[in-house]
């Protein structure tokens, strides 16, 4: 593959090509349409694989960069590139996208063509947001996502779909409009400093803005991203949208769309506005913790299966936000990993709901019960994903949570304690859900004839299960990819960490960086590296690589 | 040269007037073809041979044939212009047409008259009409518009088929 091979463009536009191709297929030929959509979904995943295999772990900069003028008069460019973080997100998007498309084979029977076209366009929108290094381009893709999602919910949704769709649309639109203001403020401020009109994010990353300006821009970004995440007071669109969206829509929404909010924070708010970030830590942490506990409690009170999962998203993403705003490398790494984990486990949970919804057309938890007996494979998959969701060790959720909590703990024990309580509640509502749906006797006669997972449905879960176990047992490849991005963010927001992680482990350059004062914590007792014996925690790690 | 121009100009205008004024549509089409042929000759006069040929090929040989087909297909039972809407303003149209013409001429007189002689038939370089030059310009400088135009034609073709197709 030559150096200037436009990999990202290919990844970006493969779904779009599929969508355009679909436009030319007669809408009556639903099977052809399904095949084409699936092929392009899968193809999208395949072409994105080089982002994993060809990713240079040692390169701290942007990779697979493509750059061309777009609107020269205002300095906007077609500027794509990924670092470890966005590469993982792109991979997640292509995978989940393919799975979501595959999962809709029998679920969508009306207006099939439009559905797949919207799905593929949505896919391109999400990918574009992740790979854009030009703020305007990012914003363009950000908005492109809204429309297909709106239609997905509004046309193929259930019950109150129009209400939910409009709510989703208006809510996110408000956020993005304010965010656009922030972008423009940044843009013009940058111009006043440098005299260059540019939306280049990499330039913004170098920008030193006055605290006051940062403050306002942060608020603007906050509204845009926090609604997308969603954080505590802005979350109410989520349960509605999730509940009423078709399965594939919920999966995409949960697994990827929400990640754009957190992605935005990590990519834009933190490194561009470091001072404001630090100033806003108390607020962000408070909102995150409220989100964790409150989301879990709300989840516990639900009667609607999907709504429960939706609220669990609020809780999990609160966790991710908390880890991020701990502003420690471990916390941010954990936060990013948690985002991926959430994509895997919650995506799978929505698929799981979708499977029985497709068979029974109800999401009332009380309508189910005893499904373990009838659908053993389904129950097993559900169990694995439940465990992944509640952070059972050796599955993916655990690593993310433990990193986040550890990262938060060193900053504040109280925060960590509150956040950890969310884990207890998480176990409670998930297991209760599992018990109510899977265990017990089959009391509802309508459930007796339910079919277990077929091969296609199982195929949608298999990659997610593999990933869950992989990340749980051996997350190193993922964490290594995050090393440079996290370090780049840290170098902006928290100067108390050394520029390279290696220095920290290096005894020679041990400089007494004063740790934050924590009551009761012993100060220097001995240098952390003095135990160079075989049982030291670092021993054998080199062998493990 | 001069004679040729005036002759052609006279033909062009006369045929144009005939096109617009003839009642019989088929005759109008014929006049239109003749008009186009004259225009093509004018192009030859302007050393744009390629364009002249294209004019004949596409306009006279293609588009107008289409018109002729349509004229024949639209086999009208009653005269096409029997009904006159009371609200139409024919004289106004004539007036405006004339006025616009007058204005154009006025502009030309104002704008070109003083320089007309000077800038006139600048050394008639043979290259301008050259097919090769047109080709270079078309396929290199104007490649994207060219592609766009071809897509436009494709779309128009499909559109025309869809429009003209009888409902099954």
């Amino acid at each position: 593959m030559p150096a200037d091979f436009p990999l990202l463009s290919i990844v970006l536009f493969t779904p779009l090509v599929g969508a355009i191709l679909l436009l030319f297929v007669n809408k009556q030929r639903v099977d052809t349409i399904r095949w084409i959509a699936n092929v392009f979904g899968f193809l999208g995943f395949l072409v994105s694989l080089p982002l994993w295999s060809r990713f240079d772990l040692a390169d701290p900069g942007w990779q697979f960069v493509e750059r061309a003028p777009w609107i020269p008069s205002i300095g906007a460019e077609y500027f794509l590139g990924v670092d470890g973080f966005s590469a993982l997100m792109v991979l997640l998007t292509t995978l989940i996208g393919a799975i979501a498309i595959l999962s809709s084979w029998t679920a969508i029977t009306e207006r099939v063509k439009e559905f797949y076209v919207f799905m593929l366009v949505l896919q391109t929108g999400m990918l574009g947001a992740f790979v854009s290094l030009d703020f305007l381009l990012f914003f363009l893709f950000w908005e492109v996502m809204l429309v297909p999602m709106y239609f997905l919910i509004g046309i193929w949704g259930s019950d109150r779909r129009l209400y939910s769709a409009i709510k989703f649309f208006l809510y996110t639109l408000v956020g993005s409009v304010v965010m656009l203001l922030g972008i423009l403020a940044l843009y013009f401020y940058d111009y006043s400093l440098t005299g260059v009109y540019s939306f280049d994010i990499t330039r913004f990353h170098q920008l030193d803005l006055p605290a006051n300006t940062q403050w306002w821009i942060f608020l603007a970004f906050f509204l845009g991203f926090a609604i997308k995440v969603p954080m505590f007071p802005f979350h109410t669109w989520l349960p509605d949208a999730h509940t009423d969206a078709p399965t594939a829509g919920s999966v995409i929404l949960a697994a990827i769309l929400l990640k754009l909010g957190t992605y935005g924070f990590v990519r834009f708010s933190l490194p561009i506005l470091p001072d404001a970030t630090q100033a806003f830590v108390p607020m962000m942490v408070a909102l995150s913790i409220i989100g964790i506990v409150y989301g879990a409690l709300c989840a516990m009170a639900q009667h609607d299966w999907k709504r429960l999962v939706a609220y669990s998203s609020v809780s999990h993403l609160g966790m991710a936000m908390l880890g991020m705003f701990a502003l420690t490398p471990v916390g941010i790494t954990g936060s990013i990993l948690q985002q991926i984990n959430h994509g895997i486990s919650t995506g799978a949970l929505f698929l799981i709901v979708g499977i029985v919804y497709e068979r029974r057309h109800t999401r009332e938890i009380s309508e189910y019960g005893g499904l373990s007996k009838i659908m053993p494979v389904y129950a097993t998959v559900f169990m694995i994903m439940t465990m992944s969701s509640i952070g059972l060790p050796a599955l993916n959720g655990f690593i993310g949570e433990i990193l986040i909590l550890q990262g938060v703990f060193v900053v504040s024990k109280i925060w960590a304690a509150f956040a950890a309580s969310g884990i207890v509640l998480g176990a409670a509502y998930m297991l209760w859900l599992y018990q109510r749906t899977m265990f017990g006797k089959v009391e509802n006669p309508k459930n007796e004839g339910l079919a277990d997972l077929n091969l296609r449905e199982f195929a949608t879960f298999a990659p997610l299960i593999v990933l869950a176990v992989w990340i749980g047992l051996y997350p190193s490849p993922f964490l290594q990819r995050l090393e440079h991005p996290v370090r780049a963010v840290m170098s902006r927001v928290n100067s108390s960490y050394p520029a390279t992680a290696r220095n920290a482990a290096d005894c020679g350059s041990e400089t007494p960086t004063p740790a934050r004062e924590v009551a009761g914590a012993p100060a220097f007792v001995q240098p952390p590296c003095s135990d160079g014996s075989g049982t030291a925690p670092t021993a054998g790690r080199d062998g493990g690589r | 040269m001069t004679i040729a121009f005036y002759t052609l100009a006279a033909f062009i205008l006369a045929l144009g007037v005939l096109v617009v004024s003839t009642k019989n549509t088929v005759h109008a089409v014929l006049f239109l073809v003749a008009n186009f042929l004259c225009v093509a000759m004018l192009y030859v006069l302007l050393q744009a041979e390629f364009l002249a040929v294209i004019q004949v090929l596409v306009y006279a040989g293609g588009i107008v044939v289409l018109y002729l087909f349509v004229v024949m297909l639209v086999n009208l039972k009653r005269g096409p212009e029997t009904h006159v809407d009371p609200r139409r303003r024919d004289r106004m149209g004539l007036l405006i047409g004339g006025a616009v013409l007058a204005e154009f001429v006025a502009i030309l007189l104002y704008g070109f008259a003083p320089r007309a002689t000077g800038a006139a038939p600048a050394a008639a370089a043979p290259g301008v009409g050259n097919v090769e030059q047109v080709g270079w310009s078309l396929y290199v400088d104007y490649l994207v518009p060219f592609e766009v135009a071809s897509i436009l034609l494709l779309v128009a073709m499909i559109g025309a088929i869809v429009l003209a197709k009888k409902e099954p």
Binding site: - | M1, F5, L13, G16, V17, V19, V20, T25, A28, F36, V39, L42, Y43, A48, F50, L51, Q55, V58, Y59, I63, Y67, V70, V71, L73, V74, L76, P80, E81, H83, R88, I96, G97, V100, L101, F104, L108, F112, A116, T117, A119, A120, P121, A122, G127, V128, G129, V134, S137, L138, D141, F146, A149, S150, L152, L153, A156, G159, A160, I161, L163
Partner: protein, 102 residues
Amino acid sequence: MTPITPAHYLVLSAALFSIGLIGVLVRRNLIVIFMSIELMLNAVNINLVAFSQQWQHVVGQVFALFVVAVAAAEAAIGLGIILAFYRNKETVNVDEITLMRW
């Protein structure tokens, strides 16, 4: 006789354009109206070619070619519409096509 200058061509073109214009404004037969539009386009082309000749630059001809292409597209679609319309209303008189009003 004065030599032929671009102004001559422009006058010719303006005249042809006006003839076409009058045709568009006055005639009621849709087909004739379309033909009048073709006349107007031709007037434009004469203009373009004349300037191309004057400036010794081929771009005018290229533009004329584009105009021809657009004219072809326009004729195809326009005539298609006329046919479709004729099938429904049995007329090509614009004065009978007045549904799209207040």
